[in-house]
Amino acid sequence: MASLKEVRSRIVSVNSTQQITKAMKMVAAAKLRRAQDGIMQMRPYAQKLSEMLATVSAGAETSGDSPLKAIRPVEKVLIVVITSDRGLCGAFNTNIIKATLALIDQKYAEQARKGNVEIFAIGKKGAESLTRRGMLVNIGYTDLFGRLSFVNVKLAAEEIMKAFTDGRYDAVDLVYNEFKNVATQIIHADRYLPIPTEARPANSKKAEVNYIFEPSEEEILTELIPKSLKIQLYRAVLDSNASEQGARMTAMDKATENAQELLKDLKLVYNRTRQAAITKEILEIVGGAEALKN
């Protein structure tokens, strides 16, 4: 059985670990609230933008021949992987990386064999892990979350779009965690580029308003499409950020609970050892007294 001193020092160390996990949980909770605020702030813009996109494309003669819609035979693939910059958030990053590898295995096995699959990593953890697995990783945007704002995400989106229109990639996919609630994240692996051409709704009622379009509908449309793509990426990053905080909160809550359990067990061992030591001492005294009597 462990000595009293050993048990005592373990209790102290578990105690301080528990304090850390408890603090981390509370920090994550505060950050989660801020992350959710960010999502709420972004929503009106995203909604209005898609309304406007619908209005303009209803007015436009053609649905706009954007270079971002160009469908080419898929030779080179870029996968945008959004993970977190920090660890200690449960299986958050592991799941994303697993999903990315599964995506490559299933959808892009052939391209991967030729070495034509590249990763665009947003978040340090994904960048590190995928580099270790020997993937080609672009790590230009690994500290996005510290100063999360649309302006920074926009730059990443612009770089991706430029690489696509330049023909460096024929398809771009996006892998990220969608925030459902604190305990649940849904992993998405979506096509980002080229933009899927959806069937245009026939006579949507918005077309009845006689808008003045300046410059032309088509030109506005080619302006609006990149904007909505930027928002799409921004939404993914915000969602991932909120998911990360949620995952960390849950993980730290579990850790605090486990520490509590461990402490309970250790205290039991401590008391039992102490009791045993006292009993032994009494026995020795009684034994000594008995010996003196004779």
Binding site: G38, Q41, M42, P44, Y45, A46, K48, L49, M52, T55, V56, S149, F150, V151, K154, V209, N210, Y211, I212, F213, E214, P215, E219, I220, E223, L224, K227, K230, I231, Y234
Partner: protein, 80 residues
């Protein structure tokens, strides 16, 4: 007329205005009360709001504007 300026990060302005001057991609233009329905792209430049009592200026970095039913909605990518 009612004017709103929003960016993805926050709502910058919401309220009544007499007129607003916008940096259209084809040149600067002004929207007054009861303007006809309009959709236009915006370039980088100043948005000048005249609320009657005061004059406010925001510098935006591109965006779009929609005017409908005496409501002006500016979607700016960023406020500089």
């Amino acid at each position: 007329m009612h004017l709103e300026i929003i960016t993805p990060d926050k709502k910058v302005f919401a309220g009544e205005a007499n007129s607003v001057t916008l940096p259209g991609s084809e040149g600067q233009f002004q929207v007054l009360n009861r303007h006809a329905p309009l959709v236009s792209t915006l370039g980088k430049g100043d948005v000048v709001i005249d609320t009657g009592a005061a004059r406010q200026t925001y510098v935006i970095d591109g965006g779009v504007v929609e005017v409908l039913n005496n409501k002006v909605l500016v979607l700016a990518e960023a406020i500089l």
